[in-house]
Amino acid sequence: MIERIEQLRAKAQQEVEAASTSEALEQLRIRYLGRKAELPQLLRGVSELEPEQRAAVGKTANETRRALERLIEARAAALDADELEHRLRADAVDVTLPGTPPKPVGRLHVLTATMRELEDIFLGLGFTVLEGQEIETVHYNFDALNHSPTHPARARTDTFYLSEDVVLRTHTSPMQIRAMEAHPPPLYVVIPGRVYRPDSDATHTPQFHQIEGLAVDEDITLADLKGTLLAFAKSVFGDEREIRLRPHFFPFTEPSVEVDVSCFHCSGKGFMKDGSRCPLCKGEGWLEVLGAGEVDPNVYSYVSTTERNAPGYDPEKVQGYAWGMGVERIAMLKHGIPDLRLYFENDIRFLEQFG
């Protein structure tokens, strides 16, 4: 009897191992372990055996049944994996076809991206961001900024007018006065915004953007201006940049300076490695980026004192600096944009290059 069981086991083992499909394996399971199969029959008949045989036969038969079950199970898993693998291979695609594009992300306009970059630099230096109105009165745009009543910038060739005393602001500087009227000193603000002047060519558009800076406290010096703008220049144009202040003239700052950044294209040398003149700075080694200065004391006297800004701005007690930089110019320098008009044409091929 035991011999017969061993025989069955050996035969079943051989056949299971040879089974090549799930169906064939199922047939084998039925043949060896099904209700009518020999081994279960044998097990059912154990009780009828001689008592001395019962234990040994029962044990062998049970072990064999369990072994076969495990064997079939293992074989089934192997066959399933094979079949899955086969199905997957049949499902092959041409992986050299282009991928399915994800939902593409858009872009910020290069001027917005540049303005944010600049705002963030000055936020880091402790400035807050204010925004002003684009339509201004002559009072804020010129008078309070110490422009003489006959200053040429007031001319209709230089300023857009909505009426005799209302203009499209020609700079972000009117917000200097409005900011001081709204807040007492000390004051540290930057003012980004759109401004307007009647010019139109490759380097001038009738609308453009500026970022104004204003810091007023009891003791802000020209050296502080230099330090602040050096931080800006290094942040925007690179750690190795230097700046230089050149004396200049603006009605609302005194002393006034123009600020140059050492050229990042030629490292301030003015010429390239091959000896040719640097195309960006035209051989100067410096790029003009902004105008600045110590706030002219006359400007403080135009700031009206109210509850909001008390004690107000006494020119003998406060001093500070201001600057105005052109956003288009900075973006133009950073990205090599040749024509300012591109900024407002909104050609997708332009927009997708930045931001």
Binding site: A223, R244, E254
Partner: protein, 817 residues
């Protein structure tokens, strides 16, 4: 302002090369825009020659074959085409190897078969004059020099000089004269400064009998001086004068006119020479022009003046536009023998206005408009008189006509030593302060706490306060010496306002939706309102109007972003990029109600214009790129643009709704008002085909909302809500409703009926067809229930669901399946 360096060095000659001078001037406030070489770049091979013989060319009537001595023993054969060449002349010669100012190299060549080894030069060829009528005959032009053949030409003529082109700031008209620049250079380098060129005056004060001047508008003419010179010989100027004028960018005319230009270039003060014999009545009157009065100017054009312009007239009427341009009638000519030399001072802003209004800018107006000092008149008179005597053999008649207001006082300004440090953040000693100010022409004396400073006349308008003196000290001492520091920033901390952060978030959300940000023009055209089919009373027609626009097309301020967004869409479509999604965040403008009253109440600050920040979107063409997997992606429609609105409203955490709402430029059946609670904050929809057509677009989906309002309603900060501890219970509900019940009404009814436990409800499927019957549609709703303190069961929500079903029945709905 062009400054020939060789001329400048006559007054201040620092031990620096051109680049060194350029650097010093630039870094002290007189920016050198460019430094150029005027004349020849190398003086090699330019020599003095003597024409030994000049024979007719065998084969050319106009050419001569000349033997020219060009050295002690050297003779060059040169073929010359000038009509005036003759044996015995001393001439300027360019030998082979010489490079002309235009870059041409002179080479030995054959001209009509005859060898020619050089070129005999005319003055214009060397850029030292404008005459091309013949060669320069040096022995006639230069009387006081030894001109041996072979002498380097540069020893005799100024054939090469560097020229600095300066940017002179408007506060420094003194630097519109070369002597003023020399003074700057003196202060900037310490090199000595030559005496003022006007320090000797051969003329005299006192009345002048031969001419009369009457000034009727002393407010616009602050000083008028004149001298009479007789026995004037009008002739070409000597070479040195022509060369200097040419290098400074002025065309030599004749000695009288050249003297006026030369004196102007040196002193900064313009002059005008009248032919006194052609001044009718020998009398000049300065007066305001009459409205529409015509004047013929030197350029032979007739200009119409207005009542704020000033003319100078004689007994026959106007001869010049004061300070801007002289007239043809009394111009100096070759036959002139008596000159009335006018040197006047005009009101700067008035001159600026006149020259801009007439489109007539001259060297004179460019200086007068900056407000010169009246004292400068006599500087120019002195120098001009001296040169008229020297160069025109003129005699100056005694006296000077001088119609002037009261002499202006010399202003004194106190400079506290400590203020310099305090403002600059850099120490400059009192002695150094004094040294700098004196070098710049200021008078300086000691005061207990600093300096007492007097201001020279030519700096009177620019320097009036202590801070102005500090600027002078700073720029000459050197801004490169400033240390680098940061302000104390007391109480300062940098952060964006909540509104600014939300605005950034809105833009970022739109970028995340795949849109490109555009920037359109603030300026728009009056025809936009018609293109958008706005009704006559649409408030968007009431755009603020620019009084002085660059063109009619840019004469209004936009009241909507739609125009510029459609322009951008059209631009890209026309260039083969019809699939696009763009947005803009920008200012739109409107007049305020009662603008005039409000302006009257607050004239300094009230503009009468409302500015609002708007957000606009335009979608055109396909919403996704065509790929091999998706060959026909969906196209932009009302739901696409609404999806964009929902995405960015979600980013801002604002609840928005849409209700049917028409706009004249939108498809009437596919347009909506955007609502935020009760407030209408914008619109969206598909563009009306008639509007799309005027931009050459097939179709577009567009939107505009008031970003100020949206952001005001946005929730910037947000408190934590526990939606994690207990899961939501989700159920679906399908309801058949009459077609005319908007989905929003159904959702509102559901929310209203459910109250507490309903967390969210949305439509996830819409079906209409035979199975649901005519004029009906089925909406599939996804309901999500949630309690904050327990996990809900179907039994918990059963009563809520019943209420929802009842509410939908009231709308005419029936549950499906």
């Amino acid at each position: 302002m062009k400054v020939p360096l060789s001329w400048l060095r006559e007054y201040c000659d620092p031990d620096l090369d051109t680049a060194g001078i350029e650097e010093r001037l630039t870094m002290t406030g007189t920016k050198v825009e460019t430094a150029l070489r005027h004349g020849v770049s190398s003086v090699e091979c330019f020599v003095v020659g003597r024409v030994l013989s000049a024979e007719a060319h065998p084969d050319a009537d106009r050419l001569r074959v000349c033997s020219v001595a060009v050295g002690e023993a050297a003779v060059a054969e040169i073929v010359c085409g000038a009509p005036n060449v003759a044996a015995g002349q001393t001439v300027a010669v360019a030998l082979p190897g010489a490079v002309m100012p235009d870059g041409t190299e002179i080479k030995a060549a054959k001209l009509r078969g005859v060898p020619s080894n050089g070129m005999i030069l005319a003055e214009d060829e060397l850029q030292i004059g404008s005459d091309h009528g013949g060669i320069m005959v040096l022995d006639e032009l230069i009387l006081d020099a030894e001109l041996a053949p072979g002498t380097p030409l540069a020893d005799v003529l100024a054939i090469s000089t560097d020229v600095l082109e300066l940017e002179v700031t408007p506060n420094r008209p003194d630097c519109l004269g070369l002597y003023g620049v020399a003074r700057e250079l003196h202060a900037a380098t310490g090199a000595s400064l030559a005496q003022e060129p006007w320090s000797e005056d051969p003329g005299s004060e006192g009345p002048v009998a031969e001419a009369q001047v009457l000034v009727e508008c002393p407010d616009l003419c602050r000083r008028f001086t004149a001298r009479v010179l007789e026995d004037v010989t009008v002739a070409p100027s000597p070479p040195w004068l022509k060369a200097r004028l040419s290098a400074a960018g002025q065309r030599p005319i004749n000695n009288v006119v050249d003297i006026t230009n030369y004196v102007m270039l040196l002193t900064g003060q313009p002059l005008h020479a009248f032919d006194l014999d052609r001044v009718a009545g020998a009398r000049l009157t300065v007066r305001r022009a009459r409205e529409g009065e015509p004047v013929e100017t030197l350029d032979s054009q007739t200009r119409l003046l207005d009542g704020e312009m000033v003319v100078i007239e004689d007994d026959l009427g106007p001869t010049s536009i004061a300070g801007v341009m002289g007239g043809a009638r009394s111009e100096v000519s070759e036959s002139t023998t008596q000159v009335l030399m006018e040197v006047a001072n005009w009101n700067g802003p008035n001159i600026h206005r006149t020259s801009w209004a007439l489109g007539l800018r001259s060297e004179a107006s460019a200086r007068f408009e900056k407000d010169l000092a009246p004292e400068q008149c006599l500087h120019a008179q002195a120098l001009a008189t001296k040169l008229m005597i020297e160069l025109c053999k003129a005699k100056v008649l005694p006296g000077t006509i001088d119609v002037a207001g009261e002499a202006l006082p010399v202003e004194a300004v106190h400079l506290r030593e400590a203020r310099v440090d305090a403002l600059l953040g850099m120490h400059v000693s009192r002695a150094r302060q004094a040294e700098i100010l004196q070098a710049l022409g200021f008078g300086v004396s000691d005061a207990p706490d600093g300096l007492e400073v007097t201001v020279p006349a030519v700096r009177r308008n620019d320097v009036t306060r202590e801070v102005d003196l500090i600027e002078e000290v700073a720029r000459i001492h050197g801004l490169q010496r400033l240390p680098v520091s940061l302000p104390a920033r007391r109480g300062a901390y940098g952060r964006l306002s909540s509104e600014q952060r939300l605005r950034r978030r809105a833009a970022d959300a739109l970028v995340g939706c795949g849109l490109y940000e555009a920037m359109g023009w603030t300026f728009t055209t009056p025809s936009l309102a018609d293109r958008l089919r706005l009704s006559p009373d649409d408030r968007r027609r009431a755009a603020p109007v620019v009084e002085n626009p660059l063109s009619e097309d840019q004469s209004m301020l936009r009241t909507t972003l739609l125009g510029s967004l459609l322009d951008a869409a059209a631009h890209n479509t026309l260039r083969g990029m019809p699939d696009l999604g763009i947005f803009e965040i920008g200012t739109v403008f409107a007049g305020v109600a009662h603008a005039a009253e409000r302006r009257a109440a607050s004239p300094l600050s009230e503009t009468g214009v409302i500015e609002r920040r708007a957000l606009g979107v335009v979608l055109c063409g396909r919403l996704a790129p065509v790929t091999w997997g998706v060959p026909d992606p969906p196209r932009a429609d009302v739901f696409a643009v609404k999806g964009v609105l929902e995405a960015f409203a979600h980013a801002l955490r604002v609840d928005i709704d849409c209700a049917p709402g028409e706009q004249p430029f939108l498809h009437p059946g596919r347009s909506a008002s955007v609502l935020c609670g009760e407030r209408r904050i914008g619109w969206l929809g598909e563009l009306h085909p008639l509007v799309a057509r005027t931009w050459d677009l097939d179709a577009a989906a567009v939107m505009e909302v008031d970003l100020n309002e949206l952001i005001a309603l946005a929730q910037g900060e947000h408190e934590y809500r526990d939606v994690i501890s207990f899961p939501a219970l989700r159920q679906d509900l399908s309801v058949v409703l009459p077609l005319d019940v908007p989905a929003a009404d159904a959702l509102l009814a559901v929310r209203y009926a459910a109250s507490g436990l309903l967390d969210d409800v949305r439509v996830f499927d819409v079906y209409s067809g035979p199975q649901v019957g005519e004029n009906k549609r089925s909406l599939a709703l996804a309901l999500s229930f949630r309690a904050h303190d327990r996990t809900l069961t179907d039994e918990d929500v059963a009563p809520v669901r019943e209420r929802i079903v009842a509410a939908l029945r009231e709308l005419g709905g029936e549950l499906r399946g």
